[in-house]
């Protein structure tokens, strides 16, 4: 059975989740919520944290997988339909981060006339990752932790002297409506809470598991909030121009040194966990498809999912902002339903274990 460790779920939230919110999200927040971007982000984190808490509560009550719970409650066909819907959702939710990261890569990793060809090999890596299942996600999280910790710490340390935190004043100056808009339009970046639902039954629930996961999530959230504060402290009114925030904040300290842009090495290092995390929704999609078509070789859905994303990437090469507006401003309810409402609804699924479901065995 596809296994993941509780520790690895914690690392997923503490190390991989924060980085994905440090590319376009800060500029988007600065556009909507201005100097109150921390409130918008905090609201999203609280909401997502609540969903994670609910899923962990569910994990403490059952050793069944999400699929088993659906099967218990609605039967096999309904479970397959739900998993199919989630497979589509995961694929859908992967699109914007993909375009976001493509933009990040083409700007930060290249100088002269970059082409989509430079990003395309990502899909080959993603196909390989999808075949590896949850074990791949978990162990990648183990690797991601030190890489993220070091690179993010260095980037923040380099950026810190440039930050003027009075830029965050006046508190509430942007107005409740703008803060709310920032939160609402940021929902696309907060679908991580769905992953623990699919990890149900694939990890061993141990004592204080919920506390550990929530604390890790809080650590990741704190890192993002600190980054946002430094980011706005550095850019103030021009923050909304600073897409690819991760690559922007540390350059002022290094530009005029004899070593030059040494921070780029840490930005490149941070791209590694970003690659890992960009694969996660596609891996989840493949996991769902595998459940729907039980005897399906994972390579087939992995190849199809990546081919679809590659095609979308090619066609939407120049349309990131249109896609962003579509996803964040028009289709936010899709994210709200799948990432927030659905996990809460799962609390009402029948948890009674039938004899055929065995307890979770140890991984590794």
């Amino acid at each position: 059975m596809d296994k993941i460790k509780l520790r690895q779920i914690c690392f997923l939230f503490a190390a991989m989740m924060p980085l994905t919110k440090l590319i376009v999200y800060p500029a988007m927040l600065a556009y909507h919520a201005k100097n109150d971007l921390l409130f918008s982000a905090s609201a999203n984190f609280l909401l997502e944290g609540t969903v994670i808490a609910a899923v962990m509560f569910l994990a403490s009550r059952t050793r069944l997988t999400f699929y088993d719970l659906l099967q218990n409650t609605f039967g096999t066909i309904a479970a397959k339909i739900v998993y199919g819907a989630f497979a589509l959702f995961f694929l859908f939710s992967a699109l914007l981060p993909l375009l976001e990261q493509k933009g990040f890569v083409l700007q930060v990793f290249y100088e002269n006339v970059p082409s989509f060809l430079s990003f395309a090999p990502f899909f080959a890596v993603c196909v390989f990752a999808c075949v590896k299942g949850f074990k791949g996600i978990g162990r990648a999280a183990d690797i991601a932790l030190p890489v993220t910790a070091v690179s993010l710490a260095v980037i923040l340390l380099l950026a810190f002297p440039e930050a003027e935190f009075s830029e965050l004043l006046p508190v509430g100056g942007a107005g409740v409506k703008n803060i709310f808009t920032g939160s609402l339009y940021g929902l696309n970046w907060f679908t991580d809470c769905l992953y623990p639902l699919f990890f149900l039954g694939h990890f061993e629930y141990e004592k204080h598991a919920a506390k550990k996961v929530l604390l890790s999530y809080a650590a990741g959230a704190a890192a993002v909030l600190l980054f946002l504060a430094v980011f706005y402290g550095i850019f103030g009114d021009i923050a909304l121009r600073q897409i690819n925030a991760l690559a922007q904040i540390s350059k002022y300290t290094t530009s005029f040194t004899s070593l030059g842009r040494i921070d780029l090495l840490f930005i490149f290092a941070a791209a590694l966990p970003l690659v890992f995390y960009l694969c996660v929704p596609v891996q989840m999609c493949v996991h769902c498809v595998k459940k729907v078509f039980e005897k399906c070789n994972p390579i087939i859905p992995a190849a199809i999912a990546n081919a679809m994303l590659l095609t979308a990437g090619v066609f939407l090469k120049y349309s990131f902002f249109e896609v962003q507006i579509l996803f964040t401003q028009k289709l936010w309810w899709v994210f709200a339903f799948f990432a927030y409402a659905a996990p809460f609804l799962c609390l009402f699924l029948r948890r009674k274990e039938s004899g055929r479901f065995e307890g979770v065995k140890r991984d590794e």
Binding site: V113, A124, G173, F256
Partner: protein, 401 residues
């Protein structure tokens, strides 16, 4: 490894090798690139157009070259023209300096500077300065120690220079932040060229005077070399901007006072004169800023802006002879000198405030402070804030005991 993965591996390897060996997918490598180290923007003779000059770093051992594009609509167009004229692709990632010619500052400089904010391949960490003459002329000046002009100017505008208070340094980000803020104001150092003594022409590198073949008809070589003289750069004056246009200029003493009151300067040297026994004596003081703060309050409906500065001073020199005991106690500053220093500081700040009032340049970001501390009162007071605000000075200089 099963057959499937073997095939995938072989296909991937073949594609990569094809890419590797062809290396021709719009790729512009180091051999086809010119490294632009500075950009100069001047007003063109043609109405509404600009002249853009670029300093290009040449490989080791050779002097820089300058390329000039005249009569461009935008900076972007000029950069594209560099490429067309020279056949080299200009890369701006190492562009550390943007110079604006004096005449170009009469209009909103952001009509040209926004190129650097829009472009993804230009860093907004570059320094920005105004030239006393034209930017092109400044970029052609010859550094006395033979380094790139842009490097020499960047040294004058370095953070070390800022720390000693001689220069008010500003990078593009900070200038843009001020421009787009509620204050709509900013400042830039004014770079002027001062001729040094004639140099022996035999020591000159002949390569610098050679005509630059890459720059086409509009090119000009690194300046000054042929004349046998070298230049030094001065940036002790500061230009104030409001809504992107030049409004006022702070002289060297005002620049120092501004730096001591507002920027990162925490250690500076300044002269103060006192009368001793009927004679004017000038002391050179080393000033170490302990605390600097600006507060904006509304008292009885009147905005009150207070400078609070605490500093320690030491005598480093005086223009009169002193006895050995006085020299031994040189660190200790007499009370009258301290008070005189405070007064001088106040007078300079007063002068700056007067210039900000007359120009509308919110140099001390009073509007931002008002917006941040009293957002509800912002609309009420913002328009007359600079002119109506009462300015108080809480300045105290102390000596080492």
């Amino acid at each position: 490894m099963n057959k499937f993965w073997t095939r995938i591996f072989l296909i991937a390897a073949a594609i990569l090798l094809l890419l590797f060996f062809s290396n021709d997918f719009g790729l512009i490598n180091i051999q086809q690139t010119t490294v632009v180290t500075a950009i100069g923007i001047d007003r063109s003779e043609e109405e509404g157009k600009i002249d853009v000059s670029a300093q290009i770093a040449m490989p080791e051992g050779k002097k820089a070259s300058s390329v000039l594009v005249q009569g461009a609509e935008t900076v972007g167009e000029a950069i594209a023209e560099f490429n067309a004229k020279t056949g080299w692709y200009p890369t701006l990632v190492h562009c550390k300096l943007v110079l604006i010619g004096a005449e170009a500052t009469g209009e909103d400089v952001f009509s040209s500077l926004d190129y650097f904010l829009r472009s993804e391949f230009v860093e907004d960490s570059c320094l920005v300065a105004v030239c006393e003459k034209t930017a092109a002329e400044t970029l052609q000046a010859d550094s006395p120690i033979g380094e790139l002009t842009s490097t020499a100017i960047a040294k004058v505008l370095s953070s070390q220079a800022q720390k000693t208070g001689q220069v008010s340094v500003c990078n593009l980000r900070d200038f843009a932040k001020g421009y787009f803020s509620v204050s709509e104001s900013g400042f830039l150092p004014l770079v002027s060229i001062k001729k040094e003594a004639e140099e022996a022409s035999s020591g000159k590198d002949s390569s610098q005077s050679g005509s630059d073949s890459q720059s086409g008809g509009s090119s000009s070589q690194s300046g000054g070399g042929g004349q046998g003289s070298s230049d030094v750069f001065d940036a002790s004056q500061t230009v104030l901007f409001y809504r992107g246009k030049r409004t006022e200029t702070l002289d060297a003493d005002e620049t120092l006072a501004f730096n001591l009151a507002d920027t990162d300067t925490d250690l500076a040297y300044g002269d103060v004169s006192v009368y001793e026994n009927g004679n004017k004596v000038t002391y050179n003081l080393k000033i170490k800023i302990g605390k600097k703060a600006q507060k904006l309050k509304i008292e009885d409906g009147v905005p009150v802006f207070t400078f609070q500065i605490r500093a320690k001073a030491q005598i480093t020199d005086a223009d009169r002879s002193a006895d050995i005991v006085e020299i031994a106690k040189t660190a200790i500053v007499p009370e009258r000198v301290l008070r005189a220093a405070e007064e001088k500081f106040k007078a300079e700040l007063d002068g700056i405030m007067e210039k900000t009032r007359s120009s509308g340049c919110d140099l001390f970001r009073m509007k931002q402070k008002l917006y941040r501390s009293r957002p509800k009162d912002f609309e009420t007071y913002k328009d007359g804030l600079l002119t109506n605000a009462r300015v108080l000075y809480d300045i105290r200089f102390d000596t080492l005991r």
